[in-house]
């Protein structure tokens, strides 16, 4: 025979378990993980899905890096091979990036080739100017 205290305790435990289960089902975000990216449409040399330069081992970048963040974080940055490696190490240390294994080398080659720094000195000239007629009454 179960004492009533024990029965109430078990009931309470069951309720807590149901509450926790419901919370998990409604709240859990997908855990990012590497995927095997497939080629998609290529427009003007860029991967249409992501804007990555569709050369070399871009599918490895698509499958690993873009599991966690936007491609724009790659395409707006420029760095040497060492610089990209440093970023990968930082993401592994702080952001939960996995060990890239034997894909690390090809990924670094791709990044260092297609997203390499440009020498711009202390102040580059103004670029991409779209000229327009200024209405003096504006």
């Amino acid at each position: 025979m179960m004492s009533s205290t024990l029965r109430y305790t078990l009931l309470l435990l069951l309720l807590v378990a149901v509450a926790v289960g419901g919370y998990l089902l409604s709240d859990r975000e997908p855990e990012p993980r590497p995927t095997e990216a497939k080629p998609s449409r290529i427009v003007d040399g860029l991967d249409a899905d992501t804007g990555l330069i569709a050369e070399g081992d871009y599918l490895l970048v698509k499958g690993n890096c873009l599991a966690c963040h936007s491609a724009k974080l790659v395409t707006q940055n420029r760095a040497t091979r060492e610089g990209w490696l440093e970023m990968i190490h930082w993401m592994q240390e702080k952001q939960g990036l996995w060990d890239l294994g034997e894909q690390e080398g090809p990924i670094l080659d791709y990044l260092a080739t297609y997203y390499a720094p440009e020498e711009s000195g202390r102040r580059p000239p103004l670029g991409d100017i779209e000229w327009y007629i200024l209405n003096p009454t504006d």
Partner: protein
């Protein structure tokens, strides 16, 4: 449940995160990836990555959302909500309205930390009822605004000039709330924040960002716990429903989706307070130098800076017609005393008219009428000087590993025909 799962104050319950709690409780850890088909998860990214924002904003990154405002769209004296830049480190908290029209009165703000005798919790409604509301026009600028120009390049979002804005913020003074919580004046060193944004990895135990300011800055009149921008609820992407606003400091100090403030007895050591984040070499370094973490110092006040907001770069004007230029100048420590422009790459400078700020830490408006001596290509450069005599450099200022504090002169291209 929520508080057990994600301790707000890492000083407490630091060893008991959600997964460990579940393991201790003997319950299975369920991953979303293993959910049955048809079960919808809450908090998927909204279809519009920039709800409530102007279509002219430049999106630098969509996960997390980061967008800047082109200079010519910042011409308003008081920055409209839709033109306030967006800088997020993590995902926007789920369950909040994309276009808020009212405030959740039951939103809670906890005041805790070593220099608070007992943690105190206020609801937003209590903050509004118990304390006097103040409105200030305060400039917020991302510490990395201008990163794009650094050479060798610095990693991160490649902000050009538009991670800045100066709307009117309404809220209560942080000092009034800290006093009500009975904070210990002798022990208080730093104030840190926690917010409800979530880590991109999906890990609920990871804090996205938890920065703050020295206690002296926290106690200034203009340091606000704000719920309104230009008289309306904060835009979702700018921290709805509650945030901190510290004008003149890197905007990352002004925590969004604010849920907890800690008064620390040491320099706050939250996420992105240490390492290379929001820190610059304590001693100047040559471009490209690797700097150890212990040789990096926290950025406090932002340097003097200005932006030409009218006309948009690329204006073609007729010879003989003076060109009206206008813009804003600001400075994190004091005020802007002098504003000048040059059309000959700094060989000579002419004064602009410069208005007084609406209040401390508000940007100041400048204007001038520019005459060009002959047809051709010109650049109009603008240079602000603060009350301490510090001017904006024409070249890039000191290189630093993460590309902060670029206050080099802004310039626009003009063709005279």
């Amino acid at each position: 449940m929520f508080y057990l799962a994600r301790p707000q104050n890492p000083c407490l319950l630091s060893s008991l995160n959600r997964r460990k709690f579940l393991a201790l409780a003997g319950l299975p850890v369920v991953y979303a990836a293993s959910l049955p088909a048809g079960v919808q998860l809450l908090g998927l990214e909204p279809a519009d990555p920039l709800p409530g924002k102007h279509p002219g904003l430049t999106v630098l990154n969509d996960r997390p959302v980061n967008a800047e405002t082109p200079a010519h769209l910042l011409n308003d004296k008081v920055t409209p909500a839709e033109l306030m830049f967006v800088r997020n480190n993590g995902a926007v908290p789920r369950g909040l309205p994309e276009l808020p029209t009212s405030l959740p009165g039951d939103w809670t703000l906890r005041i805790a930390g070593e220099a608070v005798p007992e943690p105190v919790t206020f609801t937003l409604e209590e903050l509004q009822r118990r304390f006097t509301a103040h409105t200030y026009q305060l400039t917020l600028e991302c510490g990395g605004n201008g990163r794009k120009e650094f050479s060798p390049p610095a990693r991160g979002n490649q902000w050009s000039t538009g991670a800045v804005g100066c709307p009117k913020w309404t809220g209560v003074r942080l000092k009034d709330v800290l006093e009500a919580a009975g904070y210990d004046r002798k022990r208080a060193v730093y104030v840190g924040y926690y917010g409800k944004d979530t880590h991109l990895s999906g890990d609920p135990d990871k804090v996205v960002i938890s920065r703050g300011v020295p206690i002296a800055k926290a106690l200034e009149d203009e340091s606000l716990i704000a719920w309104a921008l230009n008289g309306k609820p904060l835009p979702l992407l700018n921290g709805y429903p509650l945030r901190l606003v510290f004008g003149g400091y890197p905007a990352s100090c002004s925590g969004k989706w604010l849920s907890e403030i800690v008064v620390r007895d040491q320099v706050h050591d939250g996420e992105k307070m240490g390492g290379q984040s929001y820190r610059v070499p304590c001693e100047p370094v040559a471009p490209g130098t690797t700097v150890e973490d212990e040789d990096m110092c926290i950025i406090l006040e932002m340097p003097v800076k200005s932006l030409i907001t009218s006309p948009r770069t690329g204006a073609v004007v007729e010879r003989g017609t003076p060109l009206s230029i206008a813009g804003h100048a600001w400075c994190g420590s004091s005020a802007v005393e002098r504003m000048e422009y040059s059309i000959d790459f700094g060989s000579s400078w002419s004064r602009c008219q410069l208005a007084a700020p609406a209040n401390r830490f508000a940007w100041q408006h400048f204007s001038a009428r520019v005459n060009f001596p002959k047809p051709g290509y010109y650049e109009v450069w603008a240079r602000a000087t603060d009350t301490a005599g510090r001017s904006q450099p024409m070249v890039l200022p000191g290189w630093n590993p993460r590309g902060y504090l670029n206050n080099a002169c802004h310039r626009i291209a003009v063709k005279v025909v």
